[in-house]
């Protein structure tokens, strides 16, 4: 059984990390969800699964049965599941909104925040995305550099 648990944790964590390395934002979120599950399994397993008796005091008794399961890892796992669920739901909603506004799910093309005040772009922002062209002398110097930079990024990919 131990091997099975360990293999499950390894599979979850490994798949999660692999998906996170992708540039596709949906896969990154899926990877995070898998990774959270791996961590939850790990909590559960470090709590030493020994007993299958639920940690509920039977009717009429005053205390927990001696062979009852340790309830703390269960509480920790439940909390982590709830939080993971909420964050995944938020991330999915965020992605839908981002896809509508940015028209892309490729992490490389998401540069709207980086472009603000970037030294590699003219003050008006990226020219191709409809940013206002600037007549500033400084920006004229920077523009070829900006193009070079964006080329580099593309070839790196």
């Amino acid at each position: 059984m131990t091997f099975l648990y360990a293999a499950a944790i390894a599979a979850y964590t490994g798949c999660g990390l692999y998906l996170m390395l992708s540039r596709h934002v949906v896969r990154i979120i899926l990877g995070l969800a898998l990774l959270t599950n791996g961590a939850i399994f790990l909590i559960f397993f470090s709590g030493r699964i020994g007993s299958m008796v639920p940690a509920v005091i039977p009717l009429g008794d005053q205390q927990l049965a001696p062979d009852a399961a340790n309830s703390l890892p269960q509480a920790l796992a439940l909390t982590a599941i709830v939080i993971g669920f909420a964050l995944t739901a938020f991330a999915v909603a965020l992605l839908v909104a981002a896809y509508k506004r940015l028209d892309t799910l490729d992490a490389r093309e998401m540069t709207a925040a980086e472009d603000m005040g970037s030294p590699f772009l003219p003050p008006g922002g990226r020219p191709s995305t409809g940013g206002r062209p600037s007549n500033d002398g400084r920006s004229a110097e920077k523009t070829p550099e900006a193009e070079k930079k964006s080329d580099e990024v593309k070839t790196n990919g």
Partner: protein, 533 residues
Amino acid sequence: MADQLDLLWPVLIPVMTAALAACFWYNIRAQRIISFIGLVLLFAASVKLTMTVVEHGVIAKQFGGWAPPFGISFVADPLAAALVAITGLLALTVGIFGFYDVRARHERAGFYPLFHGMITGVNGAFLTGDAFNLYVWFEVMLVTSLGLLVISRSREQLDGTIKYGVLNLFGTILFLIGLALLYGATGTLNMADLARVLPGMTMTPGLMTAAMLFLAAFAIKAGLFPLFFWLPASYHTATFAVGAIFAGLLTKVGVYATFRPFTLLFLIEGETLRYVFTFIAAMTMITGVFGAAVQWNIRRILSFHIISQIGYMLMGLAIATPIAWAGASFYIIHHIIVKANLFLLAGAIRAAGGSDDLRRTGGLLKSHPWLAVLFLIPALSLAGLPPLSGFWAKFLVIDASLRAEYYGLAAVALIVGVLTLFSMMKIWMEAFWKASPVTPSRRRYVPVAFIIPIVMLGAVTMTIGLFAEPFVTYARDAGDVLVDPPLYIAPVFGAEAAAEAGALIAGDAVEAEVIETDLIENGADDGVEEEVR
């Protein structure tokens, strides 16, 4: 008993405020009133907590009436109490700033519940004495801060929020994995209990892995050297009020969380870990300040400076003498106020000059001379010029590093201070000194709601700078608690357990023939300790 309840209110008041604000989802006016009352009450409660801690020392409280290791305990040591007080002050000032900055559509998108939810998370993280509970507060903070960051739904915000969210989520997962390993090894997650149990255990690979996972997780949260990329990618896209509270508080929660395990749980022994911390501290300072040099967006410059300033705080962890801890504690408190003030000023500069890109604004010295004065207070304080608060903060950490013979670290800190001054002068020259590149069609006014919080925070900076004595004394108290885990254990488990733990911790030292009092007393103990080891 009544004193211990002081621990409850800084968390319960923002929860209730958030919940009540959510109850009045369609009534914006009611939300505003609830929010402001909540902020005032929170400020009062957090000041009360700090005063209680000053009076009684570290206080602790068990929730739900469970006995210590089983229930969730809240503990306030001087550092945590001071941070809660600063959070209260900052929330209040940002709340005032928000009267003008928060737009109706932000309010309809749930600004007030999210804002108070985030404050809950921050205060909870500062006060909790339970490692898993810390994770919960981190997540509360994360999900609400994501909501606040993306509140305008603009392209920049969506982009920034995705980066912020993914990397921070990854950080909390690392924290969770570390918690699982720690729980597996020790069977407890109460921090005071861990501090009691861990000194008696051998440092197994599993425990070491847990410690390093904590370091990585909190390094992401705090924006330490190789893991800070989410910070300058997102903070400058937020609305100004949100950006200020983020810049002031969120990374400092990470720094506080980095301090906790490495003062309480995994005592920094041996050379290797110390070298790692020293290297991270130095690199964080350097990369932050150089990253800022090339940027043109005011808040991006300031975001990079957050990173470089975090390096100074980490010097406390690297040097780990009582004086260094005091310096780091003082630094955190000074930094929260100054950085939040600068982010608010970025909003004022935007309102006065029309843009937060330095290339497209200017001439503010002529049109808004008072704004220039208000800018210089936090800017020069950030760079560490006397008589402002930043001078004392830098003085304390650099003094500590010189005493402990970390000359390289001291040199880096001094050079980075000069470079910070250069960066502040860049904002000064571009935004205030140079003539405006565009002739403004009309005179722009800075709203009063912007000026009041900036003046308040500036006044606090001046006060800390001019009357540093009580603050330094307080920081020394905070440092003393950080180096002496039994002081933290005693209020949770009672004096006996603390004495046992103290003996256990001192046990190592006795073996190495170092007299215990020597360790605690002077700042130069470091050399002695190393010699003996």
